[in-house]
Amino acid sequence: MDELPATLTEAAAALAAGRISSLELTTACLARARRANPRLNCFLRIDEEAALAAARGADAARARGTVVGALHGVPIALKDMFYDPPAPTSAGSGFLASHRATTAATVVERLRRAGAINLGALNMTEFALGPTGHNRVHGDCHNPWDPARIAGGSSSGAGAAVAARLAYGALGSDTGGSIRGPASVNGVVGLKPTYGLVPRTGAMPLSWSCDHVGPLARTAADLAHLLGAIAGHDPADPSTRRTPPPDFLARLEAGVAGLRIGVPRRHYFEDVDGDVAAALETALAELASAGAILVPVEAPAPALLTELGRVLVYAEAAAAHAGFLRAHPESYAPQVRARIETGFAIPAPTYLAAAQLRPRHLREFVAGVYARCDVLATPTLAVAVPTLAATDVGGGESMWTVIAALVRCVAPFNYLGVPALSLPAGFDAAGMPVGLQLVGPPFSEARLLRVAAAFQRCTDWHARRPPDG
């Protein structure tokens, strides 16, 4: 095969049809990763031998007539926060660089059972806390569309690796936009599932209340395959829902005719950079052309929901990191340390009040928004993709301002726990990707994927490749 399959779905089909072997596919991805990594720094570790051995095993199994799952033989990669012993898991930090867990993350086991080939560990913001992709220990991750610009965070390597065609999909985590931000700035799709759909067991915690594990890939169908492999109840994660997840592929091609897409002009579409706004208006018009009905809706101000989420995140991160901080205070990046240590200054009643208020805000959001629409559409990032230099503020005076600008449209949905997906929706004047965010009511992932698939059938933004991609 001269040209490699462009998407995970096509790769799985090519493998199934015998047009390519897993060894060929994995070897090609590894070669690309080796070539691109000095420029992008999206892999912290490339597990070449293990990946090739797994690929040979997948091919041998297929030759015997055994196909273990939908991802049989497909190369993917994991943000370096999912336990997969004996490989170390650093969570992007320096002092945990040789940390080895004893048990693999549930999602890693599920991906393996579905047949995926793990290429290695992906760069990330230290301890998954930061929206830019800076990492002073392992080096910053660079955006494949312009290496001077951020790859987003905290799943920086996941977004960059998928965009640069180094892996067919990746697993990330999202506590305040950490899947959707990197998906947006790198021009790929990323899904933060509903809280409780995908288990976090064996994923290094940041905030038990707001951590979500989810996939990044190139198409809605790719996401559906990955989500199907990892979703579902895990007895080891009591937050996971017992109701079996649906078949995320079943209605992927059903289109959006008659579907009401809510557009919250106030708050979410205010103060959006000109190029970004223009691209998003075109994207909304495309959805309308495909049969969706655009309806104006009022959505609660994102700033309050974001701040309530931060109360949970910082208090829980402080609890999770207290021991590490006592032992290695100077090992933390200034921005990460300042944000985590904020949790020690949040009174316990304030933390509990944020948790008590959460069901009420969720109820009000669902009742207020989804009475008028089926899916909410917002910008993922309201600003054009900034440079690494412009956002390299550490823990300095502009720390909160830089963070707020990058997460204001995404972080509210971590507090609310509802599913949110970012998909490529155009490019700005500098040639950087623009992301459209789709947000649904709890456990409506299949609906979000259906809208994303319809959009990708009438646009080709997702098929564009970065230089050398």
Binding site: Y195, T243, A303, P359, G395
Partner: protein, 73 residues
Amino acid sequence: MNGPETPPPVPPATVEALLRLAGLPPPDPETIARIAVGAANALAAIGAGGQPGFDDAPDGFVAELARLAVDGD
């Protein structure tokens, strides 16, 4: 409901005392100032978000998500 108003920062001395109580070495004054702003924002958010009811349990979120679930499509 809009976002919380910008509140006055928590006094830096309070932040430093709380960090010491947690067994942490106090960071530099600039970082303490950042933490003070963040903590003040947290306190303000609860005021702006409405007071929880006496009977509102802090663990009701997962059940509420399940109650509001849109299964399938």
